[in-house]
């Protein structure tokens, strides 16, 4: 029995599919919607300018909008739960967080996928590597929050496309109940008693904290932001010694004790502390004495946001005093740390959660070129040097 229809249908559909795919892949290459990046940014900026210049004006307009779409802000990351709660309470605006575990790439994908829709994420919190990509795609609004001048140069984009509202330092967290001998430096971690216990949060080719660990290790072993090879060699050695454990640092794994020593941002630990203490664990966080790496995340209002004023209000909240105190509670260092210090808003209690003041003062961030170079080196070499061993 002949099936001429099928014989015709399949090639026809295939041709149609090819045509569709070619058209859509062409238009989605830069990831932006039909308008060119500059013009969409211009129209957005125009819309945004109507939001006002003082917090009160912006808050009023935002209240009318009623909602701001957030993404990639887990509750226990730098106390975002507390910061969001304080925002909702103060301004009466909804702030739902979609996909809290989203990576920076996921955030950009979400903006691309939901462009023009009422659900589109309106404020991004992305790793510094992704700022260029987001800018090129036309996603970043040039909006300078009210306290712009109080934010240090290294934590903002000249053109107002991003601010680094918080940063953290890479620290060594030890479950002192399982491992009473708490390591205090990168050199310490090589000791044989830590066999199978040292864990980094993810893979450096994918996770910001793991990347930071490699760079920090480089700093501690004679390298620099321009040369992170010593960091790779350090971890290769750690793996060879059997000290490096390759399991993922999930909350459950830390809580069960599977991860006795975790290398992660300082602000990732306070959220876990209550559960750990309830379990009876003695949990100690130490900033390694020989290699200090400070890393920030970039926040930015997204162009063509469905709720532009609310989005701007959120950004202002992050860099405001309340936002800063929220970050401090979570163990992160706010961008306006110096300003807050002057105002005397940093109490003893809060300071106890943070690395010592000298360490904070000494933190320097790598430039975009240095990050790119380190990225390339790690991407190429981590596999053969560390993962394959």
């Amino acid at each position: 029995m002949r099936r001429p229809f099928m014989k015709m249908a399949v090639p026809a559909l295939a041709a149609g599919a090819l045509l569709l795919a070619a058209c859509s892949s062409g238009s989605s290459d830069s990831g932006s919607s039909s308008a060119a990046p500059e013009s969409s940014a211009a129209t957005s900026a125009a819309a945004g300018a109507e939001c006002g210049t003082t917090i009160e004006e912006i808050a009023a307009k935002a209240k009318e909008e009623g909602k701001v779409n957030l993404i990639a802000l887990p509750d226990t990351w730098a106390n975002y739960r507390g910061i969001i709660d304080s925002f909702v309470e103060k301004y009466g605006i909804e702030a739902p967080v979609m996909n809290p575990d989203a990576s920076s790439a996921d955030e950009l994908t979400a903006v691309e996928t939901l462009r023009g829709q009422p659900d589109m994420p309106e404020v991004l919190d992305i790793g510094p590597s992704f700022v260029e990509q987001a800018k090129a795609a036309g996603y970043l609004e040039s909006y300078k929050p009210v306290v712009w001048d109080e934010i240090p140069e290294s934590l903002k984009g000249e053109d107002g496309t991003w601010v680094g509202a918080y940063y953290g330092v890479l620290a060594i967290a030890t479950n002192a109940t399982i491992q009473p001998n708490v390591p205090k430096s990168w050199a310490d971690l090589k000791k044989p008693e830590y066999k199978g216990q040292v864990t980094i949060n993810g893979d450096p080719r994918e996770a910001g904290a793991a990347f930071a660990a490699v760079v920090a290790a480089a700093l501690a072993n004679g390298g620099s932001y321009d040369d992170v090879m010593p960091g790779l060699e350090y971890f290769a050695e750690l793996k060879k010694l059997g000290n490096l454990q390759t399991i993922d640092v999930t909350e459950a794994a830390v809580l069960s004790g599977e991860v006795p020593i975790a290398l992660d941002w300082t602000y990732n630990f306070p959220g876990l502390r209550p559960a750990l203490e309830e379990a009876g664990f003695d949990f100690q966080v130490v900033v390694p004495s020989d290699g200090v790496y400070g890393g920030y995340y970039a926040q930015s209002v997204v162009t063509e946001a469905p709720h532009p004023c609310a989005a701007r209000l959120w950004l202002n909240h992050l860099v405001s005093d309340e936002g800063a105190l929220g970050y401090l509670e979570g163990g992160a260092i706010p961008a306006r740390y110096a300003a807050l210090l002057e105002k005397g808003l940093i109490s003893e209690e809060i300071a106890a959660n943070l690395p010592p003041a000298e360490t904070i003062a000494a933190i320097q961030f790598p430039t975009q070129e240095q990050v790119d170079k380190a990225k390339a080196l790690i991407t190429e070499n981590w596999g053969p040097m560390v993962a394959d061993q």
Binding site: M1, R2, R3, P4, F5, M6, A9, V10, L13, A14, G16, A17, L18, L20, A21, A22, S24, S25, D29, S103, S104, A105, D106, T109, I126, G127, S129, F130, E132, Q133, I178, G196, G202, D203, P204, R205, E206, A207, G208, A210, F211, Q245, T246, I247, D248, T250, A252, A253, S256, G257, E258, K375, I378, T379, E380, W382, G383, P384, A387, D388
Partner: protein
């Protein structure tokens, strides 16, 4: 009278083809195009890079993990199906296994990985119990993050999957045939070779393919146990969904394209094997 454009065929085929075309073919062709146009212009650099260095290692690792977990899971799943077929008591065992398999076959990610961590991780319950008796799992070199650890965890969903695949075929093995064969004087081995196996092998091969694809593409579980493992799905994630690497989407799509080729090759292999065994069965 021969109807060339049967209404039924049209009504049936078009929605399915349209659905699959829109949601599967278009994205796949789109990514294939991107894989062959790295950086905007036609070229093979992305396809080539996808087979070199760390990506080649990932392919080999994923392949061995998939083959191992599929073969082991396949055999164990088949044995499970056979065992349960001949068992009539306890009555609840069959339905329990059926229902549990449906759930277990698609388990993965943090719950599955953590269940094993809680059991046989370094701070696992079983690890502790065994250490009280003097057996140290960690010392023997076993680690959930390494190859055999992953295989063990993958088996948790591979075995139920094969069990579900084999049930109809095994169910078709009427127990009376075995008895009849015995009555007529044939040995159990002969029964198996001439009657049972030919019936089971085609489904078994099809099931192996399903398990292979399932395990090759499985990513959530591997990510929790070892985010840095050199495995293809993780590499793709680094490139498409990470926090560090940017601008390497074309490379990722090239890797996907090679994976699709691998799928097609395995499919052809299995199809050939199925045809061979069908011939052998009818001979």
């Amino acid at each position: 009278m021969r109807r060339r454009f049967d209404t039924a065929t049209v009504v049936v085929a078009v929605p399915f083809l349209a659905f699959v075309g829109l949601f599967l073919f278009v994205p796949t062709i789109g990514l294939a195009i991107k894989a062959f146009t790295p950086g905007g212009s036609f070229g093979f650099s992305a396809m080539q890079r996808a087979l070199e260095g760390t990506y080649r290692t990932a392919f080999i690792n994923s392949l061995s993990l998939a083959v191992t977990s599929s073969l082991l899971g396949g055999v164990l799943g088949l044995l499970l199906a056979l065992s349960l077929k001949s068992l009539t008591r306890p009555k609840w065992l069959r339905s329990t296994t059926d229902s549990w398999s449906a759930v277990a076959a698609q388990l993965g990610g943090i719950p599955l990985a953590f269940a094993f961590i809680a059991a046989i991780g370094t701070q696992g319950l079983i690890t502790k119990l065994l250490s009280l008796v003097g057996v140290d799992i960690a010392d023997s070199g076993f680690s959930l993050s390494e190859f055999w650890g992953l295989v063990v965890v993958y088996l948790y969903f591979q075995i139920p999957l094969m069990f579900l695949v084999m049930m109809p075929a095994v169910g078709g093995l009427k127990s009376t045939w075995g008895e009849a064969a015995a009555i007529m004087g044939s040995s159990p081995g002969r029964y198996w070779r001439s009657v049972a196996l030919p019936l089971l092998v085609p489904s078994f091969l099809g099931g192996l393919l399903l398990l292979f694809v399932n395990s090759f593409a499985a990513y959530a579980t591997a990510y929790v146990l070892n985010p840095g493992a050199q495995l293809v799905p993780l590499q793709i994630r680094f490139l498409l969904q990470g926090n560090v690497i940017t601008g390497e989407q074309d490379l990722a799509y090239a890797i996907v394209l090679w994976t699709i080729s691998l799928l097609l090759i395995s499919l052809l292999l299995i199809a050939v094997l199925q045809r061979r065994t069908a011939k052998w069965a009818s001979s």
